[in-house]
């Protein structure tokens, strides 16, 4: 089976990788690219801890082949802060205690980031709908929802 030379932008940096057809994007990001912020939780695309931003859309990277990312732009939690300045969603999660064990957090943040691009001024119901692909066992979601709302307000006010 032939291996594939793929190339994609990861958090703004061009990366190259030699992958098998079957390699999952999440494994390549974590193991070949060494960016371990993106986690693996359920492997059946239910939990969302592996969520990354692929060409401007949230996807579950456990259910995307690495070869499919060839030529694309991928953003993970590591790409949220710019020049050492945290993104508003990161600030808000910290401020509102929107995380505990931290395992779902990267997926939750990268989804929240994209969701607020899609819907900059969401209601609570819309936030619940927008984050429904990300499971959290620790927080009971209430502070996560609050954090997304706070981040939205902050981003609106800028």
């Amino acid at each position: 089976m032939a291996k594939h030379n793929i190339s994609f932008k990861l958090n703004g940096q061009q990366v190259n990788a030699l992958v098998e057809s079957r390699e999952l994007l999440v494994h390549v990001i974590r193991e070949q690219c060494g960016q371990t912020g993106t986690h693996i939780g359920c492997e059946t695309s239910h939990c969302g801890v592996c969520t990354v931003d692929l060409n401007g859309e949230s996807v579950k990277s456990c259910t995307v082949l690495a070869v499919q990312a060839d030529g694309s732009e991928v953003m993970t939690v590591e790409g949220l802060a710019q020049n050492g300045v945290l993104h508003a969603v990161q600030e808000a999660f910290m401020q509102e205690h929107g995380l505990q064990c931290g395992f779902c957090t990267p997926g939750m943040l990268i989804r929240a980031y994209r969701f607020l691009q899609e819907n900059p001024n969401p209601t609570e119901e819309e936030i619940r709908w927008g984050l429904s692909g990300n499971l959290c066992r620790c927080t009971g979601y209430q502070n996560i929802i609050k954090a997304v709302k706070v981040a939205a307000e902050k981003m609106q006010s800028v």
């Binding site: 057809s21 079957r22 492997e43 259910t63 989804r111 429904s132």
Partner: protein, 288 residues
């Protein structure tokens, strides 16, 4: 959960897909959004030797209206269906169905064509397609053929899509005035298949039900149409009593499989309840 090995192909035209399908026969599988196929491959229930990724074929994406029908490329994603103004105006049932499929991330990958062609009785678009009287465009070695949604679904994981064929487009007649829809899906949680779902499309002529289609999801080996229930309502002024009769008729034809969502009795009752609600919703919408 690691998939087995396979050869990956990424054609850019439908013709190339057909050629690849011809070359590899049943060793090949088409990869659309991948959210049914890849988990099956990771569990090693599915181990195709060749995977044909159709995500870069522009000609089978997008939604437009042509010749009086709404045409949806098979690779149009669920989120694109939800976002489509055209569908919202001409066929709002489709975005309503898409909204209750899976979750936001999965809806970015999952496609209408994949949902239909997979043949899973739990998938939601098949029943909608039957209720809409949609037509599927299939392309194979002998060219293109159009098949009606009604008759396409033959069994569990089993459709009229022949080996060597690919679904390229879904054609849907737009709603005319006086048409209403109802879609009710009972599920345990976000991302689950329906315990039971019912889709209804009806057209009113004055207060009379000129036409109606009632379809059901996950209460038989495939999505199916409850035509005897339709017959009870067609040509009538729909009343609660008639809705009840139709619901009872739906119960008579359900053949659900027992699983963790519930037993046969529950699912049968839920198919009826979803149908009651969908008829009421469709009626309200048809009345505007």
């Amino acid at each position: 959960m690691i998939p087995g090995k396979f050869e990956y192909h990424i054609p850019t035209t439908v013709d190339e897909v057909v050629a690849l399908l011809g070359e590899y026969g049943d060793e090949a599988k088409i990869l659309a959004g991948g959210h049914s196929l890849l988990p099956m491959m990771k569990l090693r229930f599915a181990e195709p030797a060749h995977l044909i990724d159709i995500s870069r074929i522009g000609e089978i994406k997008g939604i437009h209206e042509q010749g009086g029908t709404v045409r949806i490329g098979a690779m149009t994603t669920e989120n694109e269906l939800i976002a489509s103004e055209l569908l919202q105006q001409k066929c709002p049932l489709i975005p309503a169905v898409a909204r209750l499929i899976a979750d936001p991330q999965v809806r970015n990958r999952g496609t209408i064509g994949g949902d239909i062609a997979h043949g899973d009785p739990g998938n939601d678009h098949p029943a909608a397609m039957m209720a809409l009287d949609a037509t599927f465009v299939l392309r194979g070695p002998n060219g293109e053929r159009e098949v009606p949604a009604n008759g396409f679904f033959l069994g569990t994981y089993w459709t009229d899509l022949q080996q060597g064929e690919i679904m390229t487009e879904i054609r849907v007649p737009p709603f005319t005035s006086g048409t209403g829809y109802g879609f009710n899906k009972l599920k345990r949680k976000t991302g689950d298949f329906a315990t039971a779902a019912s889709t209804v499309v009806l057209k009113l002529n004055g207060n009379t039900c000129a036409d109606i289609r009632i379809t059901l999801t996950n209460v038989g080996p495939t999505a199916f149409r409850a035509d005897e229930a339709e017959n009870i309502l067609r040509g009538q002024v729909i009343s609660e009593a008639l809705i009840e009769q139709a619901a009872q008729q739906v119960m008579a034809v359900c053949e659900p499989a027992k699983d963790l969502r519930g037993d046969e009795e529950y699912k049968t009752h839920m198919a009826a309840e979803m149908t009651r609600r969908s008829i009421r919703d469709a009626l309200a919408r048809a009345k505007g």
